[in-house]
């Protein structure tokens, strides 16, 4: 009896909590409203099922408490078939917006501009492809104090790459971005909750995802794949600018070639 009442209170409480609690999805700042739609559809469908089954459970528990004799009915094929059918319909209802959004997720727009995010324990750095719009090749063997991103010094495409050795990166608003991800050491995860889309960084391979920032502002990057004892301090910042501010910022950053030249000079003076 009491269990029926408590389950009822918890059920109603859960719904009220959902409606009135201050905590919900962080306001979106990218194009991925299709993901938010899929989440909302999931809430409507699962919420309805949550209320329906639990209400029936509460009704049954209160109505059929200890009595002289239970009803004897081993199975009811018709009812079971109906339930199977309607459950399958509900599942299809959930899957459709989910897969629809995923079809967008796996298709990178042709005009997306490439930005590389590089993770290491426990900081971020970034690389832009420069004027040729192509990132230079990289290899772990090139990584050194002078070349922390491991860009291939013999690759002409790498010479104009813009290196951001800082945990703060700027990107322009309203343009699709293909974020290419690379890790020097262990797994990391580029997670900006406001962008919704995200992906792991995997050492030994290059991963990617795309998004279009839609709101100018400053967003925190949180590493979301346990990457060692400093995992929780591996934060960064994405600043979404209008195109003019972004261009001005990018032009002030140094490219790989002068960086290398500087390194050579340094070696010379030391030598």
């Amino acid at each position: 009896m009491w269990i029926g009442i408590v389950v009822f209170v918890l059920m109603v409480g859960s719904v009220l909590f959902h409606l009135f609690s201050p905590w919900y999805l962080t306001p979106i700042a990218s194009n991925w409203t299709s993901i938010d739609n899929a989440i909302n559809v999931s809430f409507w469908v699962t919420g309805a099922v949550f209320i329906a089954i639990n209400s029936f459970l509460v009704y049954v528990v209160i109505k059929y408490r200890k009595r002289s004799r239970a009803h004897y009915e081993p199975e009811n094929a018709k009812l079971e078939k109906q339930l199977t059918l309607w459950t399958s319909v509900g599942i299809a209802l959930l899957l459709t917006p989910g897969l629809y959004a995923w079809a967008q997720f796996v298709n990178i727009p042709a005009d997306a501009s490439v930005v590389e995010a590089i993770g290491q324990q426990w900081q971020w750095s970034f690389r832009f492809p420069g004027k040729d719009r192509v990132l230079g090749t990289v290899d772990v063997k090139y990584i050194s104090d002078n070349n922390p991103m491991g860009v291939n010094p013999d690759d002409p495409y790498g010479r104009d790459d813009v290196l951001i050795e800082d945990s703060t990166v700027h990107i322009p608003v309203g343009k699709p971005i293909k974020l290419v991800l690379r890790s020097k050491d262990v797994l990391h995860d580029f997670f900006v909750p406001q962008f919704r889309a995200r992906m792991n960084l995997v050492p030994g391979s290059v991963t990617y995802f795309w998004f279009t920032p839609t709101k100018i502002g400053e967003y925190e990057i949180l590493c979301a794949q346990l990457c060692g004892v400093g995992h929780y301090v591996m934060r960064g910042t994405v600043i979404v600018d209008d195109q003019g501010t972004f261009d001005a910022w990018l032009n002030k950053q140094r490219t790989f070639a002068p960086a290398r030249a500087g390194a050579h000079e340094l070696v010379k003076t030391r030598g």
């Binding site: 081993p74 459950t87 796996v106 772990v140 797994l187 997670f191 909750p193 919704r196 391979s205 004892v229």
Partner: protein, 581 residues
């Protein structure tokens, strides 16, 4: 009927003569079951204390002076690993599997009693190796319970020197232990059922344990090879999971390995593992509901097939743990579809549990309360699984507190509620004593309401975008003050729930010594384990002659029958139910 005469003959049975033979080096499945249960619960207690300690750090950062980031990561890692493997898996299969299979099927023991005994002692060894890692230099591994390389074996992770080696060794030993037990459970179910006990007359507890054991026998080898390969990477410098990398500014000698390969192996084990824990819980809760509602389980055949289908499907959904791992994103379409399809047989089970109560005569005993509590938390946890399985919905939620809340609700709280229900249910058979009902109910209310208050609001921290496995959040625009308040609230409730488990231990231990003597069938249950000639059952279980089974395990409230239950070993009387088994 050749098998029956041999099985009936007790002279083949070597009765142990000494105390040590009876209770230590015992080959009796019931003693081994209790050994497994006690060891698993004792280890689980460590994990419970660890969780309360790291919850203090989350709710009240800096409140424990010894809680360094290293310790924090070590504690969450050991908590997860112990709860999933050393508590839940060992308790359901080694504990309940051992106790229930021979008794529910009318066998004298497992078919390989010596191997069964070895299974327990290897399990104990695995636990000792695991616990030893707390005492080695550097402490236990803090790589997260998923032990993802390269991190797990590189200097940035706590316990990278010895802790990880002991962890991997302990897992390998555990899997050897489980394989010895698991082969026993499967062969016993297939070969040692008594006369008349057809497969479709087995109680659902046995179906759940049986299918879960098959899953485990097929899934654990993937973890075993992963553990061996990582051990080789760590000790011999092979590169199974290790690409060329720079660790802490140091070029290491690894080259060409794949960290994602480990994730595939881990989750090829890890997802069936969810059902290795869940299926026995599904089976046992079905029996609890049926017995305490005095009604047959609704749609028995559908329930059996649902268990089998869920078991089969559980092998083709593993990559839903890896949607943002960097694997080929096109896999997402397949794994999202297969994952959501699993929801259909799972939902059918939920419907049938509620329909079992429908028009029943519900006795609100302690096991029944736990069973109803399970239905509620499992509905919640199952529905949030539909978010995480649905590839694009998973993307913003993966790695956040939403995931933590989901899997604790669905494979932490839910199975644990079943474990408690089952322990209260079978305790009188196991010990011959009865526990205190008031304490049992108090324990239920604190545990059920408390755990829901912990995990339901936690989902919303995930929506906010709070990543899991953070030692502290510091100043972050993402985490409002209210979220810190919620974390503090969750910690307070978690401490209360943790402490309230003392009621359970007190009740179990006190009742064992001072509790009233239990009747042999206090719940008036129809299944075979309640029909033993002695309580607790003696070595050999059935006295001179094995029982013969004439009906399924669910003849409750049969119209026309004098009692509201007919034990399985009562001969057919024309009053049986409408369809054949």
């Amino acid at each position: 009927m050749a098998y029956a005469t041999l099985a009936d003959d007790l002279r083949e049975f070597h009765h142990p003569k000494t105390w040590v033979g009876k209770y230590v080096w015992s080959q009796d499945h019931k003693v081994i079951a209790v050994q497994y249960m006690a060891t698993a619960i004792g280890t689980g207690l460590i994990a419970l204390v660890l969780s309360d300690l790291f919850r203090l750090q989350i709710g009240f950062p800096g409140s424990l002076s010894f809680m360094t980031p290293e310790r924090y990561y070590q504690f969450i890692t050991m908590h997860g690993m112990i709860m999933v493997i050393y508590l839940l898996t060992a308790l359901f299969l080694g504990g309940f599997g051992n106790y229930l299979i021979p008794l529910m099927l009318g066998a004298r023991d497992m078919v390989f009693p010596f191997v069964n005994m070895m299974s327990y002692w290897f399990f104990l060894l695995a636990v000792l190796v695991l616990v030893a890692s707390f005492f080695v230099p550097g402490g236990p591994t803090g790589a997260g319970w998923t032990l993802y390389p390269p991190q797990a074996i590189l200097p940035g992770a706590p316990g990278r020197d010895l802790g990880i080696i002991l962890m991997l060794a302990s897992l390998a030993i555990f899997i050897i232990a489980f394989t010895m037990g698991g082969l026993n459970y499967v062969v016993t179910v297939l070969q040692a059922r008594t006369r008349g006990m057809t497969l479709m007359r087995m109680p659902l507890s046995i179906w759940g344990i049986f299918v879960a054991t098959i899953l485990a026998l097929l899934a654990f080898p993937a973890l075993f090879v992963a553990a061996v390969m990582m051990m080789l990477d760590r000790i011999l410098g092979t590169s199974f999971f290790m690409p060329a990398l720079v660790s802490m500014g140091q070029q290491l000698g690894y080259n060409g390995g794949s960290p994602i390969l480990f994730q595939h192996l881990f989750w090829f084990f890890g997802h069936p593992e969810v059902y290795i824990v869940a299926l026995p819980a599904f089976g046992i809760v079905s029996d609890l509901l049926s017995v305490h509602a005095r009604k047959n389980i609704f749609g028995y055949r559908m329930m059996v097939w649902a268990i089998v289908i869920i078991g089969g499907l559980s092998f083709i959904v593993w990559a839903h743990h890896m949607y943002v791992s960097g694997m080929n994103p096109y896999f997402g379409f397949f794994f999202a579809t297969s994952t959501l399809i699993i929801a259909v047989p799972t939902a059918i089970k939920v419907y049938n549990w509620v329909l079992t109560l429908w028009k029943g005569s519900i006795h609100f005993t302690v096991p029944m309360l736990f069973a109803i509590g399970f239905i509620f938390t499992f509905i919640n946890g199952g529905l949030t699984g539909l978010f995480l399985g649905n590839v694009s919905v998973d993307v913003p939620l993966s790695g956040t507190y939403f995931v933590v809340a989901h899997f604790h609700m669905v494979m932490g709280v839910s199975p644990i509620l079943v474990v408690f229900g089952a322990l209260y249910h079978w305790y009188p058979k196991i010990t011959g004593k009865m526990w205190n009902e008031t304490l049992g109910k108090l324990h239920f209310w604190l545990t059920f309401v408390g755990t829901y208050l912990i995990y339901f609001p936690m989902h919303y921290l995930g929506f906010l975008g709070m990543p899991r496995r953070y030692y502290e959040y510091g100043q972050s625009a993402l985490v409002p003050h209210s979220a810190h308040m919620l974390n503090a609230f969750i910690t307070v409730v978690a401490l209360a729930v943790g402490v309230s488990q003392l009621i359970f231990f007190y009740n179990m231990i006190w009742s064992y010594f001072y509790g009233p003597k239990a009747e042999s069938n206090p719940w008036r249950a129809a299944s075979l384990e309640w029909q033993t000639p002695e309580t607790p059952p003696a070595h050999g279980n059935w006295g001179p002659k094995l029982p013969t089974v004439y009906r399924w395990a669910y003849d409750y409230s049969v119209p026309g029958a004098p009692d509201d239950f007919i034990p399985q070993n009562v001969p057919a009387d024309g009053l049986s139910r409408h369809h054949q088994t």
